[in-house]
């Protein structure tokens, strides 16, 4: 399995050359990283690849790198697509780095895989990533009239507004959240070999 993945990686590196930023194999999975401008072309080429056609888009999601170590490399947002080739029984992860942090735009792959339709709507809804050429980029999961993109790292878990029934006006109203944000278990990153005292 792993050797087939490595063969595929070498073949893709040879085929696309500079258009791929990196192609790495880790944990038996191939990750191909591209910049936003080549994303659509490479997606199309992968779908129509003669030996390993990636007919299926299994998953597509947004990513926010703003508090991640990889952030130093630049782009805040990325779009990750998980592709599967049924003919060759191989998986591939295609990641497009979205350059503009204030107005992230990337080409839509809705015309390559129709399955991308809702996945892109979801990524737009949750991360505010724009998909150029999508055609029906509405919010999908959040409420009608929701403001903001909740899965961004700077969006609090408790949100900004809460909903309640107001007996005076006799209707459901939005008001600023009344619960204070709290963290029950702190986020901890341990250094290498933490807890290894060197003797059993």
């Amino acid at each position: 399995m792993s050797t087939r993945i490595e063969t595929l990686r070498d073949a893709l590196l040879a085929q696309f050359g500079d258009r791929i930023r990196s192609a790495t194999v880790a944990l038996g999975e191939l990750t191909v990283e591209v910049s936003a401008e080549h994303y659509h072309d490479i997606a199309l080429a992968l779908r129509d690849h003669p030996q390993t056609p990636f007919e299926q888009l299994i998953d597509l999601c947004g990513l926010d790198f703003s508090s991640h170590a990889l952030r130093s490399e630049g782009a805040r947002y990325a779009v990750v697509a998980h592709l599967m080739s049924i003919a060759a029984n191989l998986r591939l992860r295609l990641r497009a780095l979205v350059t503009d942090d204030d107005f992230p735009v990337v080409a839509s792959v809705n015309d390559v895989w129709p399955a991308a339709n809702w996945f892109e709507r979801e990524a737009f809804d949750l991360y505010g990533i724009m998909f150029a050429g999508h055609g029906d980029l509405r919010r999908l999961l959040t409420d009608y009239g929701f403001v903001g993109h909740p899965f961004r790292k700077d969006f609090p878990v408790s949100g900004y507004v809460e909903m309640r029934y107001d007996p005076d006006t006799r209707r459901v109203i939005y008001q600023p959240v009344t619960i204070a944000p709290r963290e029950n278990t702190p986020r901890v990153v341990r250094e290498e070999n933490y807890g290894d005292v060197g003797h059993g």
Partner: protein, 417 residues
């Protein structure tokens, strides 16, 4: 000349056939659907965002609540993702237990799907029959995890505890006399494996009963045959997986093609449809129940003969036994650190997928080395299926919309996440 108008109609979000909270905006020309626009998200709980604020192990119970009809399969994908990132091995016995409960879950899921689908289409009896069998399997869930539905039984590194030696029994009360209780307890006198063994020997006959009611039923066929046809090419392009893909004639099953746990040692067949219509998907799922039954039997045989550990002995991942924890300082520290701080997962990313009853259920997990995930994406099979609602229902009558929703096997817990 009569005036012809297109109607826009709201279906749901509180419609009994909408399987939860689906709001479907239908544009109709007479009774023919011109466009279907599903509005989802009414059950959106931001599980993925919540997981970012909790330790890896605290999110296991959230997985149950995604697809609340096939609880353990969701946990399975999540635990597999963590194990892949950590690079730890699961004990063999735990792998068999997982496979067995995955298949029990598949039967549970398909039973509910069959009952609900038949109810939508107008057959009441199947629902009652299906729930009779679900009750037994729920008892198996309860015996092993203590909960009938939201089990939280699979843990990173294995399963929480070994299979119990005794089944919970009925007791005499003012509604059940001693004779009735004795009859109910007949197959509960042995261990869980005996109980499941008894169930698997009875179950094929039950499936025959469902098939007698439905397979050649004229009304059932009139409602399902040639409804919601998906060609193999479209099924792939639309991201279909599981029975929806196999119903269109593509022999694709992760249990065979990319085997995980011990599925490569199991002997079972993959049913494949021919026409890609709702009736074929019905046949595929019914046959899957029979195949799952076979797998459960094989697991029972193996589990009877091979005792052993059921969770990893790496105490940075899995808790030590209660006994050791009470007696030894080292184990106590491990226990404390594990339940306060949690597992530290090495930085990296991975995608782990299982053949969930509904299709491919995948977890894309990204870690930056902390005790919490950096990003967790849940790939729910129903999401891709429901996205194809517009294409599948276009040109069909409004009553067929209900049949198409039924054939997709939709559960909103996983679609809205």
């Amino acid at each position: 000349m009569a005036e012809i108008r297109n109607y826009t109609m709201n279906f749901g979000p509180q419609h009994p056939a909408a399987h939860g909270v689906l709001r479907l905006v239908l544009e109709l020309d007479g009774e023919v659907v011109q466009r279907a626009d599903p509005h989802i998200g009414l059950l959106h709980r931001a599980t993925e965002k919540l997981a970012e604020t909790r330790t890896w192990i605290q999110s296991v119970p959230y997985m149950d609540r995604l697809d609340y009809v096939s609880m353990m399969c969701n946990e399975h994908a999540y635990c597999m993702a963590i194990e892949k990132l950590l690079g730890i091995e699961v004990p063999e016995r735990a792998q068999y237990i997982r496979v067995m409960f995955d298949e029990v879950t598949r039967i549970l899921n398909h039973l509910l799907w069959l009952g609900a689908h038949a109810l939508d289409v107008g057959a009441m009896t199947v629902f009652l029959y299906a729930f009779r069998e679900r009750e037994d399997l729920m008892d198996a869930y309860e015996a092993v995890s203590g909960a009938r539905m939201h089990a939280a039984y699979y843990r990173p590194g294995g399963v929480y505890r070994d299979l119990p030696d005794s089944m919970p029994r009925y007791e005499v009360n003012k509604f059940k006399n001693a004779e009735a209780v004795k009859r109910l307890n007949e197959n509960r006198s042995g261990s869980l494996l005996d109980f499941l063994d008894d169930f698997t020997s009875r179950f094929p006959r039950y499936v025959d009963e469902y098939e007698t009611l439905l397979t050649d039923n004229r009304i059932w066929k009139q409602r399902l045959v040639d409804i919601g046809i998906v060609t193999p090419e479209r099924a792939m392009a639309l991201g279909f997986t599981g029975p929806m893909l196999r119903g269109s004639g593509i022999a694709w099953d992760l249990r065979k093609k990319q085997p995980y746990e011990v599925y490569d040692r199991m002997d079972f067949d993959i049913p494949v449809g021919v026409n890609g219509d709702s009736y074929d998907r019905y046949l595929v799922r019914v046959e899957e129940m029979r195949q799952s039954n076979r797998i459960v039997r094989q697991c029972i045989d193996w589990l009877r003969k091979n005792p052993g550990p059921v969770i990893s002995d790496n105490h940075k991942v899995a808790p030590p036994s209660r006994e050791a924890m009470k007696g030894n300082m080292e184990e106590l520290i491990h226990h404390f650190k594990l339940f306060t701080e949690g597992i530290h997962v090495p930085a990296g990313e991975c995608y782990a997928a299982v053949e969930h009853p509904k299709g491919e259920f995948g977890i894309y997990a990204m870690s930056d080395g902390a005790n919490k995930p950096y990003r967790l994406k849940i790939r729910a099979p129903g999401f891709a299926h429901l996205a194809a609602m517009d294409e599948m229902s276009r040109g069909h009558m409004i009553s067929d919309v209900v049949a198409i929703i039924g054939t997709m096997d939709i559960v909103f817990g996983e679609i809205d996440r």
